[in-house]
């Protein structure tokens, strides 16, 4: 697909296995975030198809794609600053009867859902260690804390596939540990599939089942973490010795 004359993602073909942790790496401008935008529906592809659980999703609106279980986080961790931390999490609740105005007349159903949603949310907050901020405006959280919130919120949404956009960038190592713990726990419990964009190569190699390398909008390597280290194309892309193709 093209942005004002630049082909951001050009002929990227890849698949992601259920239950795996797949990382997408590559130099800046390789098209990684664009790839996420295409999968999550934020951008529409000029050509090509995207299949999820057998269904074509590339023409769907973002909220429909999220409905199907693909939940993403955002680079820089977008939190809703003027909602409380707890409200941010509860936003992730799916099939909330209170979202439908018809249920305005059914306070019982709304309350029942809110109570159990709140419990789940507080549980998650405890797991990531920021439950003391539950009723504070999310705007006061630090960058690292926002990342945690972004992740927790994604988890609230019953994801099948989690798209994590640089979840560890700018997070201090202790928190990274914590994040990884939570992710591992959830992965086994819910059979989640992860697709991550990440720059920290060490983390990527440690946690990924598979690594996809992108450069200049193409997939240039795809395989087990070890194989990537030795891949000449990958080395070239990172070192920039490869000439730009026209």
């Amino acid at each position: 697909m093209s942005f004002g004359g630049v082909r951001a993602v050009n002929g990227a073909t890849l698949d992601v296995e259920v239950g795996s942790v797949t990382s997408v790496i590559g130099p800046n401008g390789a098209g990684k975030t664009t790839l996420f935008n295409l999968i999550s529906g934020a951008t529409k592809p000029d050509s090509g198809t995207i299949l999820f659980e057998g269904l074509e999703i590339h023409n769907l609106l973002p909220h429909k794609i999220a409905d199907r279980g693909i939940i993403r986080t955002f680079q820089g961790a977008k939190v809703i600053k003027r909602l409380s931390v707890l409200d941010n999490l509860m936003l992730g609740g799916q099939d909330n009867p209170g979202d439908s105005l018809v249920n305005f007349l059914n306070p019982k159903a709304r309350k029942a859902y809110e109570v159990q949603c709140r419990e789940r949310a507080m549980e998650l907050l405890k797991q990531i260690g920021i439950e003391r901020f539950a009723d504070e405006y999310a705007g006061i959280l630090s960058g690292g804390q926002r990342k945690l919130l972004d992740l927790a919120r994604a988890l609230m949404a019953n994801p099948t596939l989690l798209l994590l956009d640089e979840p560890f960038a700018g997070v201090n190592p202790t928190l990274v540990e914590k994040l990884l713990e939570v992710l591992h726990a959830l992965r086994s419990k819910h059979n989640l599939t992860f697709l991550l964009i990440e720059h920290d190569l060490e983390t990527v190699m440690n946690i990924s089942d598979r690594v996809i390398v992108m450069a200049e909008g193409r997939v240039i390597a795809d395989g087990k973490p070890n194989s990537i280290y030795e891949n000449q194309a990958v080395i070239d892309a990172y070192l920039g010795t490869r000439k730009a193709s026209k």
Partner: protein, 297 residues
């Protein structure tokens, strides 16, 4: 055929007026991110002060025009220093800008009414002399406006494209923080923006008064919607787009009254046509003719 030429010509003239006013609004938006709802009243002010200087004080018309433009610039700059500057400092959001612009519009409009009264005015110029061209009646006044407007448009287009300040304006509107860090004199850019907007607003009002004949203090407001439509049509913030939007709307609005088009729309509904066109275009190009499509919800 004659009617078509007539309407086309009228549309061109009206379009040039829209274009000039729309340009000012678009420039202010691109540099200051402000939709200047008070712009319509600058048109009215320009027309009324020209009337006052030319007819009451008996100054030569061209002097009156220049004085009015100067006044428009002066008031724009005063507003910048006592209001807009302060508002930007407090980090005002979209709503604050809209409401303050509306407040300014109210104050301006009522001031004009208080000072000049509510009677309709008319410039002391020959409205009657016409030429014939392909069966259409071309008023001398219209021709004069079209020529002057074209000159003004050409001058400003060149200015924005070639002059240093013009380039700085474009750089600042693209990326304000980068521009100020790279040494561009932001103050000068802002002052230049308001100067152009104030001068062109007055000019558009004077042109409209010339073409329209009688005008009242509702004149600017009557036009404001069509002008805003031109701004949005050409993509807000795009100066050239504003000019094109102005011409397109002017011509479409006039032609919509053509008999041959299923009897034509009654001319009182022209602004409705402007908005119908705008909404239809926005349905396909939500950012305006020149905008980049951003898929959101």
């Amino acid at each position: 055929m004659a009617e078509f030429v007539q309407l086309l010509f009228n549309g061109l003239v009206e379009g040039s007026i829209f274009g000039i006013a729309a340009l000012g609004i678009s420039l202010v938006y691109s540099v200051l991110k402000l939709v200047n709802f008070a712009a319509g009243d600058f048109l009215t002010l320009g027309a009324f002060t020209t009337f006052f200087f030319a007819t009451n004080s008996h100054l030569p018309f061209i002097v009156a025009v220049l004085l009015s433009m100067l006044l428009g610039v002066a008031i724009s700059l005063i507003l910048e220093f006592i209001i807009w500057r302060k508002l930007r400092k407090t980090g005002a959001g979209m709503l604050a800008l809209f409401l303050v612009a509306t407040g300014v519009a109210f104050v301006l409009r009522q001031s004009i009414a208080l000072i000049f009264g509510s009677n309709s005015r008319k410039f002391d110029i020959d409205q009657i002399k016409t030429f014939e061209f392909l069966g259409a009646q071309i008023a001398q006044a219209q021709l004069a406006v079209l020529c002057c407007a074209s000159v003004a448009i050409t001058v400003i287009a060149l200015f924005i494209k070639k002059s240093t300040i013009g380039k700085n304006m474009r750089a600042y509107s693209d990326n304000p923080s980068l521009a100020s860090v790279s040494g561009i004199n932001v103050d000068r850019v802002i002052i230049a923006t308001w100067t152009i907007s104030g001068a062109f607003g007055a000019l558009a009002g004077i042109f409209q008064g010339t073409v329209q004949g009688q005008f009242t203090n509702g004149m600017g407001l009557d036009l404001l919607l069509s002008i805003l439509a031109a701004v949005v049509l050409g993509t807000i913030g795009d100066a050239y787009g504003a000019l094109i939007g102005g011409f397109v709307l002017g011509i479409v609005m006039e032609l919509s009254t053509w008999d041959a088009l299923l009897g034509g729309i009654p001319s009182t509904y022209k602004p409705v046509v402007a908005f119908a066109v705008l909404v239809i275009v926005l349905l396909f190009k939500p950012e305006g003719i020149f905008g980049v499509r951003v898929r959101k919800i």
